[in-house]
């Protein structure tokens, strides 16, 4: 294989963490919805915590994205 095709392959492999992030986001929002429906009065606190953990989780996906972009455009 030449370098260009290996680059494309590597960029594809680099975004594989999105699998785990998708699982995590699904779990996070499922439990968020469940806990809000169990206790609707705690919605405010739960939502802010949920958004915070969403951001922490999403940063992993974005790191993968940055690595893929570096492989595609910078290296």
């Amino acid at each position: 294989m030449d370098v260009a095709s290996v680059k494309l392959l590597a960029a594809g492999i680099a975004v594989l963490p999105l699998f785990g992030v998708g699982l995590g986001l699904g779990k996070l929002f499922a439990s968020l919805i469940e806990s809000i429906s169990r206790n609707p009065s705690a919605k405010g606190d739960l939502t802010s915590t949920g958004i915070l953990s969403f951001a922490l989780l999403e940063s992993i996906a974005l790191l993968a994205f940055v690595v893929a972009m570096i492989i595609l455009f910078a290296v």
Partner: protein, 255 residues
């Protein structure tokens, strides 16, 4: 196909060289100055009247102020008034910078790695300095909470120090990558529309990417505000850690 990374290019507008240092005004710093000027103008206009029944602008500013006050008070129990101006200006700066980048043809400085990392390192370093000033050598207590079994302590301290050192990196990269990926997504979608309209004389299918772009823009607007909020909440949490002693058990359970 247009290069989707073309709009992130930093161009030199007014070259200034002083003492061998390059402090030229680029489009990045121009937009930063623009945002700062916008914040100053809006805040001074909104608080000029200070009427009991707020007008439109004053109402928006009051809402924003209360929102950030709530956030800061939630994270930092005592001494939150000292931290508030910093967090508020950080939030306004990042949010307006993100939103200004959404205007077609403009430049979003928060999608520059240097700028977000710079802001993140300022937050991190100031949290260290504040921690040592407020707590002295008790600041190290955060790396090794009380009641830790001695056989696990070295490993735990190592992991804590590593996670502490990676804080600014994750803080900066989160904002930068969010903005970058959103802009690239919008530009790729716009590129679809252009290439569809360019190949044929007018293809009705080229309307689809344009409509998708509208929804992407709305989504990006949400992400812009959300990322500014997340940045300020995380800096609040880091500041809270340096303002409060580690022995407070209720604090640890929450974060």
């Amino acid at each position: 196909m247009v290069d989707p990374l073309a709009s992130f290019e930093v161009r030199n507008i007014i070259p200034i060289h002083i003492f061998g240092m390059d402090i030229s005004i680029t489009n990045s710093s121009l937009y930063m100055l623009l945002v700062v000027a916008l914040i100053c103008v809006v805040c001074s206009l909104g608080t000029r009247g200070k009427s009991l029944v707020p007008g439109k602008l004053q109402f928006c500013l009051e809402k924003l102020y209360l929102f950030i006050t709530d956030t800061v008070n939630q994270q930092i129990r005592n001494k939150s008034a000292k931290m508030f101006p910093y967090i508020f200006s950080l939030f306004l700066f990042i949010m307006l910078g993100n939103i200004i980048g959404l205007i077609p043809g403009s430049f979003s400085f928060t999608s520059q790695f240097v700028i977000t990392m710079g802001m993140a390192f300022v937050v991190w370093l100031s949290s260290i300095i504040v921690g040592f000033v407020v707590q002295g050598k008790h600041f190290f207590r955060h790396f090794c909470p009380e009641g830790m079994p001695s056989y696990i302590a070295p490993f735990f301290v190592l992991v804590e120090i590593m996670s502490f050192c990676f804080r600014p990196v994750s803080l900066g990269i989160r904002l930068f990558a969010n903005m970058l990926s959103g802009h690239i997504m919008i530009e790729v979608m716009a590129g679809f529309a252009v290439s569809l309209a360019g190949i044929f004389m007018f293809d009705p299918a080229s309307v689809i990417p344009v409509i998708a772009n509208v929804f992407l823009n709305v989504f990006k607007l949400v992400v812009c505000v959300l990322q500014a909020y997340v940045f300020s909440v995380l800096s609040c949490i880091y500041m809270a850690e340096s303002l409060e002693p580690a022995t407070d058990k209720s604090k640890e359970c929450e974060v």
